[in-house]
Symmetry: C2
Subunit: 402 residues, 2 copies
Amino acid sequence: MAVSPFAPTSFPHLPPVAGVRLAVGQAGIRYKDRTDVLLAEFAEGTHVAGVFTRSLTASAPVLACRDSLKGGTARALAVNSGNANAFTGSVGVASVERVMETCAGLIGCDASEVFTASTGVIGERLPDDKITIALSGLKKNLAEDAWEQAARAIMTTDTYPKMATRTAKIGGVSVVVNGIAKGSGMIAPDMATMLAFVFTDAAIPQAELQALLSEANDATFNCVTVDGDTSTSDTLLLFATGRANNPAGDTADFRRALHEVLHELALHVVKDGEGAEKFVTITVTGAESGSAARRIGMSIANSPLVKTALAASDANWGRIVMAVGKAGEKADRDKLMIRIGGVSVAKNGEPDPAYRESQVADHMRGREIAIEVDVGVGQGRATVWTCDLTHRYIDINGSYRT
Amino acid sequence: MAVSPFAPTSFPHLPPVAGVRLAVGQAGIRYKDRTDVLLAEFAEGTHVAGVFTRSLTASAPVLACRDSLKGGTARALAVNSGNANAFTGSVGVASVERVMETCAGLIGCDASEVFTASTGVIGERLPDDKITIALSGLKKNLAEDAWEQAARAIMTTDTYPKMATRTAKIGGVSVVVNGIAKGSGMIAPDMATMLAFVFTDAAIPQAELQALLSEANDATFNCVTVDGDTSTSDTLLLFATGRANNPAGDTADFRRALHEVLHELALHVVKDGEGAEKFVTITVTGAESGSAARRIGMSIANSPLVKTALAASDANWGRIVMAVGKAGEKADRDKLMIRIGGVSVAKNGEPDPAYRESQVADHMRGREIAIEVDVGVGQGRATVWTCDLTHRYIDINGSYRT
């Protein structure tokens, strides 16, 4: 498969996170000659926070994670790629339990402290025997520096591994925030699934950790879209080992670092979106509220007519008007303002008399497109990120099994 | 442009409707060597009902129609293709007024009894002078039998004209219901717009006419989708001249005929959808309500992952599970049932053990695909219709202006 034109030429170096050790292995679930299982071990007392898909047909691992999250602590994370263990009924639930129990035995913890994620085919029974055998061999390999290996093991049809790192200060003590993610390559043969795991040595109470994660997720992963489809398996987990031994204190800088890590990972998910040739930033202002602005932005970002125009480098702003109109959020037609690449194309509900299409032609032909829309009714604003809809999207999603 | 594989080999003959006369002309708005203006004249006392786009950026003609509808009577309809008169501000409003006044002068009625619809480019000033000149020449050509010409004049990138006719009895008297529509060819260079006009000689009070139209629309045009995008110009108008002189009576048979005409037109819109190679019927049962069932059906019908799988003749039912899960309506994961072409592929929240993909291979390769989903929580049911997402959709929508 062709690598995304947005693939970075080099990957960031992720430093160790005190209290986190990683190992990867080959269970042979679906892929040959590559790793497909990740085991992470966490120090005792590690707090965990999570955000999951809102799908009503969520996978068995998502249901188990939601349940384990009630305890608030984590000792292990086990991830496999190649099979989503979704729509697998009671058999799938039992598979998750076996994986959790195997990890609990390896690490020496309660099964409820083990979190799992699976990504890949829907509706096929998880070969949990292969996974538990592979996991059992990994304990001796656990290491502090296996970040890139971890990011690669969770890939499905991602064309490059996704990693980000930041440091922050809490109460004068430096803490690390590392994140890895997999994204919107098609999860053969089913759907784009987003998995992201973030690890920090910060000591932060569980309730605050959850609040920080939910807030950061809302401004990052919840603001990106490839095709508007929602996976049964989307999972974001944040593990905080506390081994930095920072005092309780102002978490504003940690909040900034967490946001930056999630932001960087979320943008990689879009840039490695199925068939993506253009990366599109849509900023909506003047909406009734921030969530109204995001819904308008998502209406533009998910419109097939907008996305096909972008793929063709066509500054077809009439389709943006259409997508604003269908979003179902308040907008003042007679104050609507649209800019493309910083050039005013429409204002006061009419085409800008000064606008000439040649002004935006170069911008439209570029890799990164900026769209700004002001809907003229309030102060709400939001930015969402998406990619274009290309022939390769259809090839990737149509040709897999036939 | 290639004609839809679903284009009928012959068109139905639409009989005259007493009190309706039609004429078409060439205003040269956008298209060369074809008609692009339709004028319809209605007998005095004609009642009118309408349903319009819910877009908040509705076009100037839609706003004018909504306003005129308050009067409840109609004497003329003027439609142009090639320019949507949308997002044209106060200039656009003035253009509609000039068209209405011209028709009022021709027919000898109040401007508020003239209905207009425009379809085509967004954000370009309507050349209303060309339209009023063309309309002025049409009065002498008004005729009872110009139905196919009318259906052709309102086309944009439709690949065939869309017509349907039925008869019904009210109080023992026979009435005619004729309909014409244009659909989801791309409205160069902007968006798929649906316009439909229905004409009957039935005598039906305006309030009842509106209720009948809203109900029939809800089960037909509101249940079809091509790409989930919503036009600024969608317009459905029903004109009832009363010239059949039927007594007031049970309108059940008229209701049936109206439903059938709208159903036939709506299905033509899907079958002539942009790039459509497959016609897909999705029936959802077991939902909490009829509207919940429709939302689940639309979530499946609008999913790019489902639509690309259909284009590839791939029975990828995992994507149907995903689309049910993201619909936001109640569904019992452990009772979910899916059938494709009548074959059970999943039941009780798991793949059907008896299912083999070969059982549906022939069905998936065919032109018409049937998907049934039962979500296991109630009695709500709905059927929606859609088409697949093909390379040609991207070509049509991406390549127009570049």
